[in-house]
């Protein structure tokens, strides 16, 4: 399904490692050749891992990946056209250290914000796509994140396009205070207007999707998918443990748990994601369009 030249668009792996998300998901600094899988503890060849969409070939553990990588493995080559890439947050509330944190996030992620939005084709079906990036302040939702997602939905509504959102987020960005909270309402409004026009919205929850993003657009899809074992919840596990003063069951808040409780439609592995999205998009296209 995936031609090898898709991978030519990936950032070189050393650069990926430098981006911080690699380090963040991986407690051991990988050497040039080998990476230890945090789930099964097997040593994996870095190049094998890259060839396998950063999924452990031994146990199926899905490593966190950044937004550009995600786009490259999801959309047709050369079809992604980014929107609003130049938008970036400023320290609206003069919050201590926030300006430096923003600067650091930009350098380590090579992005201007925690979400990348644009249009693309998936097996020739045109869609708006928004992909969040955990290497930018843990995918936290600031005003620009909300603004970009809102603009993407407004564009899709205007142009009668479906929207796919890949969510990954630690929640609202507290350094932007109440204005980050307001993005939950703002994005939800844009989702509703898109929905009321009879247009399709698919969300894909990836590890981790929590907080204000879970409590807004991530849970508002017509169809909600998730990557295997992704942490999905409103409150983070540590907050819950502190509140109830007891340990949580082992698989609590995993994608599989949330599926069983009835809050997502399906768990889809990374290698099947493009095909699944493509089929779902085509099921919602009017006959004769293709």
């Amino acid at each position: 399904m995936f031609t090898p030249d898709i991978f030519n668009f990936m950032k070189p792996k050393n650069e990926l490692e430098k981006q911080g998300e690699w380090l963040e998901t991986h407690p051991y600094v990988p050497d040039e050749l080998w990476v230890k899988c945090p789930s099964c503890k097997n040593m994996l060849l870095t190049s094998d891992l890259e060839d396998n969409m950063k999924v452990c070939s031994k146990c199926g553990h899905h490593f966190r990946i950044n937004a550009r990588y995600r786009i490259n493995i999801t959309v047709d080559d050369g079809t992604f056209e980014e929107m609003d890439s130049e938008l970036t947050s400023k320290n609206i509330l003069d919050f201590p250290d926030y300006s430096q944190k923003l600067q650091k996030a930009k350098i380590s992620s090579c992005e201007n914000e925690s979400v990348i939005c644009g249009t693309a084709e998936i097996d020739r079906s045109r869609t708006v796509i928004c992909v969040m990036d955990s290497s930018f302040m843990m995918g936290s939702m600031g005003t620009v994140t909300g603004e970009k997602i809102t603009r993407a939905f407004e564009y899709a509504t205007e142009n009668s396009l479906p929207v796919i959102v890949f969510a990954v987020s630690g929640g609202a960005r507290m350094q932007e205070g109440i204005l980050s909270l307001m993005q939950m309402a703002k994005t939800s409004g844009a989702v509703k207007r898109h929905s009321d026009k009879g247009l399709l919205y698919i969300t894909v929850l990836t590890d981790p999707t929590t907080g204000g993003v879970t409590a807004s657009f991530a849970m508002e899809g017509d169809i909600i998918l998730s990557e295997p074992k992704a942490l999905i919840g409103f409150a983070g596990p540590r907050v819950i443990e502190q509140t109830i003063r007891q340990k949580l069951p082992k698989d609590f808040q995993t994608a599989e748990f949330v599926l069983e409780k009835g809050f997502i439609d399906a768990v889809v592995s990374r290698k099947d994601m493009k095909k699944t999205l493509s089929e779902l998009l085509k099921l919602h296209e009017k006959e004769g369009n293709r």
């Binding site: 609202a172 309402a185 939800s188 509140t243």
Partner: protein
């Protein structure tokens, strides 16, 4: 008053709760309606129908409880998903009968627990945000004490949002903020300043329409004044064509957080 003083005032045990507001403003006309028709009846949310100077209205309040027993019964005003779903059920009912919805918000946040997660706390809040944005009847939300993050917002997607002078509204508690950012709970006072969570801050940021001045002790003067203010406001909103009402509601939130820069002009930004 410093921000932390406001936080403490907003949380004070003797502060009137939603039930006090409902009793003082709607009196005997309030008829409580229970349950979400899905799972159960969340006592952290008090809701029903009432008359406001003759006009039928739907009233929804987050209730913290007025003494220890009540607080336990009400889960300290921390709602579960079924609470938000009960609220949405009543809002849909209000839409059907074109009754204005009046929400009283007072919560440290949506409950964080096993049951709440199992029953989709995130989904319940998300659905409220989405549905409230296009609910075809006026909505007015008043923050009377604590406005804790998504759990408060789930009842505050409204045509107008008001705050009591000493109410607070924030994306995270100052304690949570201090412990995450500085690993130091002692910095709570500092965090409450940084978060810009007082009524004055929120008014300046354009997040609320009105600050309700608090008399020395919250007495009948406040409630009478508030009653008339609510009545006038919802009657005015009822006269608006629904499309105008909903466009205004959408734009009310749409304009929040436009204060960003583009990468190109970032270094020379002169604002």
């Amino acid at each position: 008053m410093s921000a932390i003083d406001r936080v403490n005032a907003a949380r004070a045990n003797n502060r009137p709760t939603s039930i006090d507001y409902i009793t003082k403003i709607f009196g005997d006309s309030f008829f409580e309606l229970h349950g979400d028709r899905r799972f159960g009846d969340d006592k952290a949310i008090v809701s029903g129908i009432a008359r406001l100077n003759g006009l039928p209205v739907t009233v929804i309040g987050i209730e913290k409880g007025r003494n220890l027993n009540e607080r336990m019964e009400r889960n300290f005003g921390m709602a579960h998903p079924e609470g938000y779903r009960k609220a949405l059920r009543l809002m849909k009912q209000a839409e059907k009968f074109r009754r204005p919805v009046i929400c009283f918000v007072d919560t440290s946040g949506a409950y964080c627990g096993i049951g709440a997660e199992e029953r989709g706390q995130g989904q319940a809040i998300a659905e409220n945000l989405m549905e409230m944005m296009t609910l075809k009847t006026p909505i007015l939300s008043i923050l009377i004490g604590e406005g804790g993050s998504g759990g408060a917002l789930a009842l505050a997607v409204a045509d107008e949002v008001w705050m009591l002078e000493n109410a607070v509204y924030s994306v995270i508690s100052p304690e949570g903020c201090a412990s995450i950012l500085w690993k130091d709970a002692a910095k709570t006072a500092e965090a409450s300043e940084c978060l810009k969570m007082t009524s004055q801050d929120l008014f300046s940021l354009g997040v609320i329409e009105r600050i309700i001045r608090e008399p020395k002790d919250l007495d009948s003067k406040l409630f009478d004044g508030l009653k008339n203010l609510i009545s006038q406001t919802v009657r005015k909103k009822l006269e608006q064509p629904v499309d105008t009402l909903l466009d205004n509601r959408y734009n009310r939130f749409r304009r929040l957080g436009q204060d960003f820069v583009t990468q190109d002009d970032a270094p020379t930004d002169t604002e």
